[in-house]
């Protein structure tokens, strides 16, 4: 196992190198000049040119890439063109809200979706099954920002149960932290409830028709044990895969949710930086996201062995 993990980690290096070259090239070729944005509407060509020189934007592609890549390898992501803050500081400031949103969303989604999927499979074709599938279709079909606005209107403005926006760090207490996250997480969880419930149902249906399930039932094992211990454990591999991919997809969902609920997370930082053409920040964030993608895939692979002992590396 450890050899496998080491091999997988080593395999990420060329992937990350490719990502670095790709991201840098893409930004180099993309239209949009940060110096012109920075200088503002009144600026003359001369002033813009002076700012470009000061920021080093007038240097050639290879020079800029080698300098940037060399710094990144030493853990230095550079300085934001606009705020002049270190990119690593800006990213660190934004990690906690995004991570918090993802954790609360996942807990909500898994906590609701897996039991729903199991119950739907157990009641295949009945009303319960149809209702669960309807929820799944709705969760997939309605855009997250629409769900967000509706929830905010009802829970925040109408009944004053939750705040409309903002983020409170966990260091200021669990409840203040959670209170700010409930609305955005519930909004984002809708999609994942739909996704995970459908996969759980489909996988469970397949497993429930297996011989060993029939044997367990014939031996008089209770239906709850059959469903949640015998069947669910064997259905876990595809469910975990979907959850893992869901975490990766959640990053794009977070971009919308963080804007709607004013959470200062990485998603918003990415969008703001792209609109401003703040190259060092965009590059830093994309590298971090790529690393997270790779890491999640690795963790999914490792988790398979926990659920299915037959899997060996």
């Amino acid at each position: 196992m450890s050899v496998y993990i080491a091999r997988r980690i080593l395999a990420t290096l060329p992937v990350m190198a490719f990502v670095m070259i790709f991201v840098f090239s893409l930004l180099y070729l993309a239209p949009g000049d940060p110096a012109a944005i920075l200088a503002g509407d009144q600026a003359s060509d001369t002033e813009i040119a002076a700012i470009r020189t000061q920021l080093g934007l007038d240097r050639s592609f290879p020079v800029r890439f080698l300098e940037w890549a060399g710094n990144v390898l030493q853990g230095d992501f550079g300085v934001s063109i606009f705020t002049r803050l270190p990119v690593s500081t800006m990213i660190l400031q934004r990690v906690e809200p995004t991570l918090s949103l993802m954790v609360v969303t996942l807990v909500m989604a898994i906590g609701v979706a897996v039991p729903l999927g199991v119950v739907a499979a157990h009641n295949r074709g009945r009303l319960v099954d149809r209702v669960v599938m309807l929820i799944a279709v709705l969760g997939f079909s309605v855009p997250v920002f629409v769900i967000g606005y509706v929830l905010a209107y009802v829970l925040a403005l109408k009944f004053h149960l939750l705040p409309v926006q903002g983020y409170t760090p966990l260091s200021e207490g669990f409840w203040p932290w959670l209170r700010n996250l409930l609305l955005p997480a519930a909004t984002l969880a809708g999609v994942y409830v739909a996704l995970i419930a459908r996969i759980t149902r489909a996988t469970m249906l397949e497993i429930l028709s297996e011989d060993y399930i029939r044997t367990a039932r014939a031996k008089g094992v209770s239906e709850r044990i059959v469903l949640f211990v015998h069947a669910l454990r064997n259905a876990a591999v595809p469910i975990v895969t979907v959850i893992g991919l869901g975490i990766a997809l959640m990053i794009s969902g977070a971009v919308v949710i963080e804007s709607v609920f004013a959470l200062p997370g990485l998603g918003r930082l990415t969008v703001d930086s792209i609109l401003r053409r703040d190259y060092p920040v965009i590059q830093g964030v994309i590298l971090i996201f790529s690393f997270v993608y790779v890491l999640i895939n690795l963790l999914i692979d490792i988790s398979y062995t926990l659920f299915d002992p037959r899997i060996r590396y």
Partner: protein, 529 residues
Amino acid sequence: MITRRTLLGSAAALPMLAMPSVLRAQGAPGGTLRYVPSSNLTILDPVFTPAAVSITHGYCVFDTLYGVDSDLKPQPQMAAGHTVSDDGLTWEITLRDGLTFHDGEPVRAQDCAASLDRWSQRDAFGQALRAATEAFEAKDDKTVRIRLTRPFGPLLEAIGKPHSSPAMIMPERLASQPIAEQVTEMVGSGPFRFLADEYVSGDRVVYEKFQDYVPRSGPASWTSGGKVVHFDRLIWQIIPDEATKVAAIQAGEVDWISTVLPDLVPIIAAAPGVELFQTDPFGLMTVMRFNHLQPPFNNPEIRRAVMMAVNQLPYLQSITASDDERQECRAMFPCGMPGVEELGSDMMSPPHTLDEARKMLADAGYDGERVVILNPTDIASIHPHGLVTADLLTQLGMNVDLQDTDWGTVVQRRVSKEPVENGGWSIAHTNWPAISIANPATNATTRGIGQGGWWGWFEDAETERLVEAWLSATDPAEQQRLFNEAHQRALEMVPVVPLGQVFRTGAIRSDLQGALHGSVDMFWNVHRT
């Protein structure tokens, strides 16, 4: 044991628990003022950038030698007063007592001279002053001396300008930085201290009251007068989503929203506990800018034909919610500003017909050249203008190519001097705070500097001659005559087509009194009742 009664009781208390802490904290004198700016604060140096949000921040942290009152008349702010030599070439400004920077150092004339020197390299009005200046210097610690090479009538208006890179005073060590480099250390002598360790760009900006600030006596008026702060802390909360901003002030989570999207104004108008206000009494002037280097708009007759065909109303209606938010203004300078007369009425008012404009285009030799309109889809106050212009020019029979893109790309593309076939452009739209383009020297849209000037590169020696004459004039009647001549010249040459003025609406909680709204929001004088 949990009974039905206790459960119901707990449920009733839930809204209290869930109530934002800001609400529970309200009511105490001092306390916190929560403000939502119109956009994120990314550039802290208010001299480096003309962005409104950076200027608003700048007025918290920094002070100016002169400010302006609500009539836009310069008034001493950090200055106790000034003297001018008989030949008008030497100005001496004395600092008032008690001025201290946030790091505890006293404000000296050396700091002011260095600040003026840096500012005069960046700002258009400053550059005009610099061209007439031999030296910004300190006569002694308390006296700033400006030695001129020729008289400069509007000197106080220049160093006291309230918007777009005002001449804010910072310590000499910061003001000595090159102008192409931003100042990031926020040490000023203004009424608020910037708390760098609490600043998260894109989320929040935090200030605390500067206890050692000595306000002038007398009432506050725009950027002049007694800047008395009534809150211990000022927190800017960045909320990117317009609907969320409105929901946040309705819920009492924030106190003050800088601007409300026109579509959402009716929601606020109906909300209890929140009031609407007009942000800047002079508003924004919105313009259509031509690329003067490339055909067809390198031909002034074609520019005149387009200006004659423009009806301002559809432009204004496309970005405003009601008549209160718009004003037609057929002038190259913003209506309502000192000295501005609406001289373009004859050239732009109906009853001109599109047939007349088509004939003018044909007479001017328009030959079907492609007209590329750069149109940012992510700027709600500009995007509709591209659509209106495209429709108008199509009706005039022009070969229109409307190119929708994001603002970042527009900003880059519009500095291209290439022909449209090589990625160039013909028309772009933008908005200017009226106060930033109020006179012949500061109005970048009408200046004729050519390739070294504002994008679009209008070049006209006669315009520049009139600007210089206006700057040197010291007699008010002569100044007005030259102002009108410069204005008339702009109407003849059409460097831009004026599309009217727009007045933004902001929102504030009803329990706040004394808030000052000018070209930027100001956080002194305001208090909670």
